[in-house]
């Protein structure tokens, strides 16, 4: 029986593990929790105990630290020679020509329109809807039910939280967080954060 290791941590590990288990009953789906130290670094010794020859891996970690922690785990898996696959829920409606990168999670009821591209390490939670010709750059996180209009582009490591709607043809820069439930009608500069705990956007300038 083929082994599939779902590795990571937190609530997203649980979601991804049960999604894989339901979708692939014929596989030996194994959940592997990667512990974090006090300084948030991963203790990767659990990965060293797995033989890459016996199956494939999926990295499941939430959007913490701008999706960089999930990317860090994904890189650790690749460096160890693991084969990474993407998960596409059987109930998702993904147009045939959509290009999906490595380690992408496409949850239940997700809709992805024709001509779109979903780069590696993106997570689309249940019910997320993206129009035609959308480009989700690497390591994005689309929370439950968010909407991305036709031709829009979400920069790398973008986080779209519940209630976010990105209008058609809008470009969201890299490392943005759209946490205010509202329609984003204009392009957003890179590294802009809309967090409900703050009254004004958090902006980053300079290099």
């Amino acid at each position: 029986m083929k082994s599939r290791w779902v590795v990571g941590g937190g609530a997203h590990l649980e979601h991804a593990f049960s999604a894989w288990k339901q979708a692939r009953p014929e596989e030996n789906v194994i959940k592997v929790e990667v512990p974090q130290r006090e300084d948030y670094s991963f203790d990767l010794t659990v990965l060293d105990r797995i033989s890459e020859a016996g199956g494939s891996m999926f990295v499941a970690f939430d959007e913490r630290f701008g999706n960089f922690k999930r990317m860090e785990l994904m890189q650790a898996a690749l460096e160890r020679g693991f084969k990474l696959e993407s998960f596409i829920s059987p109930s998702a409606v993904v147009a045939k020509d959509v290009a999906v990168g490595l380690n992408v999670f496409i949850g239940a009821g997700v809709i992805i329109g024709t001509g779109s591209r979903v780069d590696y390490n993106c997570v689309l939670q249940a019910g997320a809807k993206t129009g035609n010709d959308v480009h989700l750059k690497s390591s994005c996180w689309l929370d439950i039910g968010v909407t991305v209009g036709h031709g829009a582009e979400i920069g790398a490591h973008g986080i779209l939280r519940i209630g976010a709607i990105v209008a058609s043809r809008v470009k969201i820069g890299r490392y943005c967080e759209l946490g205010w439930p509202r329609v984003y009608e204009k392009d957003i500069p890179a590294r802009t954060v809309f967090d409900t705990r703050y009254e004004e956007p958090i902006c980053v300038y300079g290099e």
Binding site: D39, Y40, S41, F65, G66, F68, Y175, E177, R191, V193, D195, R197, Y198, E199, E200, P201, I202, C203, V204, Y205, G206, E207
Partner: protein, 376 residues
């Protein structure tokens, strides 16, 4: 202080005139002006200001076009020539009008008239990477406001500020003076911040009996020079608290460290800035902008020390810092709003202890300035 100083619009207007339009005020960070035509825009004392780099020379002007009063630079931070987007008037590095499209045909302005047109320029001083502006027609030397040791400390620490800067603004419902009083009172930390800042940093609360006694006497020298000399005492900084265990931050190998390991640094440039560094690898700068007697905007900046080389997750580091500090700032804002909400014209005068000698000295100076014709 008596409640009227936190409630009265007339006093608010008076302090804008007698303090804010006289002293040197925080204007921005030089690190955001790295090249020709880099600019930042601000509204300080109600005046729209643009600070721009002209081939290395940094100057401050009123950000209002002389033609039809449009803002010349519209973004908070950017890089473009000093040119009005409305009708294309172009300004030079001294605020002079360099070009007016269709000047002769449409405006009938001759060379001589054009030469008379010049943006209002404001004095600007840099202490390391920190810019200060003055709206005083006859600005006094910045050394009259900040002592040499303080200037040196600001210069040394700010020289290692990185160029990547995170900023947001909180809108506080309190008078700006509550912020500086709160910052000059380290005794509140172990109560108000017992579950946040006090968990990792220990602050001493010194009692200077000599200064406490002095604060009860009348100000001896109320000349301009004397008032400035007194004000100079209100700005101080350096290592204030200590960490039980020096903080290890995940990005410390990515940046050049500043200061002593294990020390918590605080700088308090009077009247309305607070700079702190708790780990020697990053700084926060709070700018408390008076908006109304019961309204203060808190601009909060975060930046690390200079990066050894660029790395992808640098803005995520800043965001983690911002969220952490906003927990502490949020506690401060909540208590200051609670104080402000309790104020009324007949509220009792506060009972300040000896440890609050610095706030008492500020109060003595401030009330003298507000209630007499004395100036700074």
């Amino acid at each position: 202080m008596l409640s009227k100083y936190y409630l009265s619009q007339e006093i608010f207007d008076r302090e804008q005139e007698k303090i804010f339009r006289k002293v040197w005020l925080f204007a921005g960070l030089k690190t955001l002006l790295p090249k020709h035509n880099s600019f930042i825009t601000r509204k300080i004392c109600g005046i729209p200001v643009v600070i721009q780099n002209f081939n290395g020379a940094i100057r401050a002007f009123e950000n209002v076009c002389l033609h039809r009063n449009a803002l010349i630079q519209g973004e908070a931070v950017g890089c473009r020539p000093l040119a009005c987007p409305y009708h294309g008037w172009v300004y030079g590095e001294h605020g002079e009008v360099k070009a007016i499209p269709h000047r002769e045909a449409l405006y009938k302005i001759d060379d001589c008239e054009q030469q008379q047109l010049k943006l209002r320029e404001f004095p600007l001083e840099a202490i390391g990477n920190i810019l200060f502006i003055s709206f005083n027609d006859r600005p006094f030397p910045i050394e009259d406001q900040f002592g040499p040791g303080f200037i040196e400390s600001l210069k040394s620490s700010s020289s290692c500020y990185d160029g990547e800067v995170m900023v947001t603004t909180l809108h506080g419902k309190f008078n700006w003076k509550l912020a500086y009083e709160n910052l000059r009172d380290s005794n509140h930390v172990s109560y108000l911040h017992r579950n946040s800042l006090a968990r990792s940093v220990m602050f001493n609360t010194p009692v200077d009996s000599g200064l406490a006694a002095e604060s009860l006497q009348a100000l001896a020298n109320t000349s301009k020079e004397g008032m400035r000399a007194e004000m100079r005492r209100f700005s101080y900084g350096g290592a204030e608290g200590t960490r039980e265990n020096p903080l290890r931050v995940p990005f410390q190998d990515m940046v050049e460290r500043w200061g002593d390991e294990g020390a918590y640094y605080n700088w308090l440039p009077f009247p309305n800035v607070h700079i702190a560094s708790g780990d020697g690898c990053s700084f926060t700068l709070e700018h408390h902008i008076p908006v109304a007697p019961d309204r203060t905007d808190l601009e909060i900046y975060w930046f690390t020390t200079r990066k050894r080389k660029p790395y992808a997750f640098s803005s995520s580091n800043l965001l983690a810092k911002m969220h952490g500090s906003c927990l502490v700032v949020g506690e401060d804002v909540a208590i200051m709003e609670r104080v402000q909400a309790a104020l009324h014209p007949y509220a009792p005068a506060p009972t300040q202890g000896a440890y609050e000698f610095m706030n008492r000295l500020v109060e003595r100076w401030y009330t003298d300035l507000m209630e007499t014709d004395h100036e700074i």
